[in-house]
C-alpha cells in the first residue's frame, strides 16, 4: 500500500462557511457573539436583559438554538429586537450551516450586534465555529464551581466568562469567585463578568463591554 501524507484539518466544511459569514460581518462592522453554557444557566435571560438595554441604540439580531420549541425566540422578540429560532431537532450544537440558513433572509439588512445562543451543552459547541468574533461562556452560581475544570475544551474555546445568577450566592454553597478562579486555571486571559440578570447587578459592565467591542470592530473598517 502507498502512504499518502497530508495535513488536513477536519471540520473544514464547517469552517469554510463560518469564515464566509465572518468576512461578511467584518465588512459591515457587525459584532457577533456565540453564547455557550449548560442548559439553564440563563443565556436567554441575559440576552433579554441585553436587548432591553440596547435595542434603542443598536440594531440587534438574536438567533436562539434549541432541540425543540420556539420559546426562546418568542421571549427575546418581546423586547423589540429581531429574533429567530433554530430548532435542531436533536443535534446537540449549532453548526455554521444552520446559522447561515437562518441568516439568509436577514443578509440584506445591516446589524450592529448579532447574538447566537447555542444549544445548552458544555461539550460539542466548543468544536464548531459559527463565524462569531468570540464565544462567551456563561456559568451560573449553583451549577457547580468546578464546571470549568470538568469541561476545559469549552473554556479554552471561549474569550469571555460570564458568571450569572450571583443573586443566588447566599442561598447555595456556590461561590462566584471559585468559578472564576477555576476558569482562570484553564485560561488566564479570560475577560470576566459577574452578573445577576434578575437584579441587574453587573449587567451595566457587560453592556459597556459589548459596546466597546463594537466600537473596536468599527475602527477596523
Amino acid at each position: 500500500m502507498k502512504r499518502v501524507e497530508l495535513e488536513k484539518k477536519v471540520i473544514s466544511a464547517n469552517e469554510k462557511l463560518a469564515q464566509a459569514n465572518r468576512e461578511k460581518y467584518a465588512k459591515e462592522g457587525t459584532f457577533v457573539i456565540n453564547l455557550v453554557s449548560s442548559p439553564g444557566s440563563g443565556k436567554t435571560r441575559l440576552i433579554e436583559e441585553t436587548a432591553k438595554r440596547l435595542k434603542d441604540e443598536l440594531r440587534i439580531l438574536v438567533l436562539t438554538g434549541d432541540i425543540m420549541t420556539e420559546n426562546d425566540a418568542r421571549r427575546v422578540a418581546r423586547h423589540g429586537v429581531d429574533a429567530v429560532q433554530i430548532t435542531t431537532g436533536g443535534a446537540c450544537h449549532l453548526d455554521a450551516r444552520m446559522v447561515d440558513e437562518k441568516l439568509e433572509p436577514y443578509k440584506s439588512r445591516p446589524f450592529d450586534l448579532v447574538i447566537v445562543e447555542n444549544v445548552g451543552n458544555l461539550v460539542c459547541p466548543s468544536s464548531y465555529d459559527l463565524g462569531e468574533d468570540l464565544k462567551v461562556l456563561l456559568i451560573a452560581v449553583g451549577e457547580g464551581d468546578d464546571k470549568p475544570l470538568k469541561y476545559p475544551p469549552m473554556v479554552t474555546a471561549s474569550e469571555v466568562l460570564v458568571v450569572n445568577k450571583t443573586d443566588l450566592k447566599d442561598y447555595t454553597d456556590s461561590d462566584p469567585d471559585a468559578i472564576v478562579e477555576n476558569a482562570l486555571k484553564i485560561k488566564p486571559d479570560l475577560t470576566v463578568f459577574k452578573v445577576s440578570s434578575k437584579t441587574g447587578d453587573g449587567i451595566e459592565e457587560w453592556i459597556e463591554w459589548l459596546k466597546s467591542k463594537l466600537t473596536q470592530k468599527r475602527q477596523t473598517l
Partner: protein, 113 residues
C-alpha cells in the same frame, strides 16, 4: 454527539484522496485528535465504520492518535504538557501561556492501493 459529523468530514477528505490516486482499496487512515477537541474516539471509529460500508472506503481502518495538549509559558519560555485540571506553567507557576497543540483534529496519512 458530533462524532458522526466529524466522521463524515474525514470520509469526504479520504474519498477525494482515494479518487486522486485511483485507489481500489484504502488501508489505515491516521487521524490526530487533540484532547481539547472533545471527541469520543470509540464513537468516531464506530461512525467511520458504519458510513464507509458499501463505499470505496469499506474496510479502511481509522487509526486515532490522541494528542495531549502542550503549551509554552510566556514567562519562563518552557514548553510543557498541560495538566488537564490546571493549565498554568508547572515550572514557574506563571499564569501566562500559549496553547501550542491539543485542540485540532487533523488527518495525517491515508494508505491507498
Amino acid at each position: 454527539m458530533h462524532e458522526l459529523g466529524i466522521a463524515t468530514d474525514i470520509v469526504g477528505v479520504v474519498t477525494r484522496v482515494a479518487e486522486e490516486h485511483e485507489a481500489k482499496r484504502v488501508g489505515d487512515v491516521v487521524v490526530e485528535i487533540g484532547l481539547l477537541a472533545a471527541v469520543d474516539t470509540g464513537s468516531l471509529e464506530f461512525c467511520f465504520e458504519v458510513i464507509t460500508r458499501g463505499t470505496r472506503l469499506e474496510g479502511a481502518h481509522l487509526k486515532v492518535v490522541e494528542i495531549k495538549p502542550r503549551a509554552r509559558c510566556d514567562a519562563c519560555g518552557e514548553e510543557y504538557e498541560v495538566r488537564m485540571d490546571n493549565f498554568h506553567c508547572p515550572h514557574c507557576e506563571s499564569k501566562k501561556f500559549e496553547l501550542l497543540i491539543g485542540s485540532d483534529i487533523s488527518i495525517k496519512e491515508v494508505e491507498v492501493e
